[in-house]
Symmetry: C3
Subunit: 201 residues, 3 copies
């Protein structure tokens, strides 16, 4: 599945750019921007690997994830004046990352023997924990706890992947369907401003 | 010790309810409320298992902890209007969770060969780190760093358990005495509004 | 290298004091001050050990790190009125800790088979993640993301150590040179108020 690796790297760069952008907006220095880029791009997968016991985590086993994240963060740091023009493509690549990270995380959870709920949680965590860490380090309540269908799209995709694994569908095709579902929900939610119900008093 | 398992599950549900409640008060959406419930109930034990090397952590080995946490968080999300009536019983169940988590964590630290201080730290962490994560994710300075005898009750209970293990008391009885001590201190602290000294300038 | 162990313990005490001081300033109670001291002193090395797979982490294998941290935090809690007089020596010992933690972390990363970038990241993390956790728990955006040459000094020292390992220099001497470089940059940055460039709009 070389397509999966390609999408994984695209998503990594997009996530790193979103983290670096958050640092630039808060007027952090170069180091802070790099850290936010790295944490956003690799934090979710790292937490997943710690929990399932694949140590050292993926990004320390394959440093290309680190180099790509640093390159994307540097590009944002030095090119941030032209970044408005890039906002729409970035949201698109971010959605690709979301879908890819969910199926990688869910699949890896299943491979390491987790139950269905645990595997879906690993998928959601892979896709969202990096962004939550970014927000925490930026001094904000994590966006995924407050807004949009972001995390719910991941939940649906993870659950779909676990379900499809029990059908005759080939694993790569199941992964593709689940990833495209996440990406589609995410892009539609952005387009039509969907959101989840909130508790009200 | 089936009683211990029962108390563990009761405490898990109470902790999840307190996390979910924190999310409801901040008007988080359903996903945020579920995450806060799960993190509060399982965060402490998960951190403990990462540190002692029992991987995957307890809640990924036994998904019942996840299901109970989700059920409790859903109950709070949909029933929060009637929650005021539940406040007192919840504090009581929360105290039970506190005592149970301390002795489970301390005991597991000893089983995994930690020294006495490390084992007590694992006990305190099991009982308090979930709540600290809940506060961090809610954008607040963790309550345990600021207020009440909460964590100190855990310290006393953990230290008591380590001490009682060197006496002829049977391990289950030692655990019971230590857990009841934590629960009693916690309930008395709530009742009489005890607090620790603070540094003053 | 008994000198390294000595510097390590000095740095641990200095980091614990800085964490405890942060708690005292926020009027936390005794427990909060102890937690901030412990987390600041041992958080970075603990995160490193989780990531490279040396579990349980150093401070649970050698509890002396915990006892020293607690002693330093207690000293700050009870002696904080006289702490202004100690501010300059503390900054000096803190710089020693910074240099020592960087070379310990980077060296340990290499020993555990990480690549050069991963090893440098472990060094930087060992020296800075404890302080970042201290700031998060205090409700602040981590200082290292916003200010000063702190983390950059660590980056330089870690990269220098990885480079020097490819020269005929003996490992202890390489470590000494790298550590002194970090300490010198840090002290000069403090003295002359250096800072990194920031992105500007």
């Amino acid at each position: 599945m070389d397509l999966l690796l390609l999408l994984d790297l695209v998503g990594t760069a997009a996530f790193a750019a979103s983290g670096a952008w958050s640092g630039v907006k808060r007027e952090m220095d170069l180091f802070g921007v790099l850290v936010l880029g790295l944490v956003t791009a690799t934090g979710g997968g790292t937490l997943r690997d710690l929990l399932i016991g694949d140590i050292p985590p993926f990004c320390l086993q394959h440093e290309s994830y680190l180099y790509i994240s640093i390159a994307a963060a540097l590009a944002v740091f030095f090119g941030h004046r032209r970044l408005n023009r890039w906002q729409q493509p970035l949201q698109f690549f971010d959605a690709i990352g979301l879908g890819t990270f969910v199926i990688i995380g869910t699949g890896k959870g299943l491979t390491y023997g987790l139950g269905p709920l645990g595997a879906v949680m690993m998928g959601v965590m892979t896709a969202t924990a990096g962004g939550a860490l970014r927000d925490l380090l930026s001094g904000e309540v994590p966006l995924i706890l407050r807004k949009e269908i972001y995390a719910s799209a991941c939940l649906v995709g993870g659950a779909l992947l676990v379900t499809l694994r029990h059908t005759p569908l080939s694993p790569p095709l199941a992964a593709l369907v689940a990833a495209l579902t996440v990406i589609a929900i995410r892009l539609l939610a952005l387009r039509y401003d969907w959101s989840l119900p909130r508790a009200r008093s």
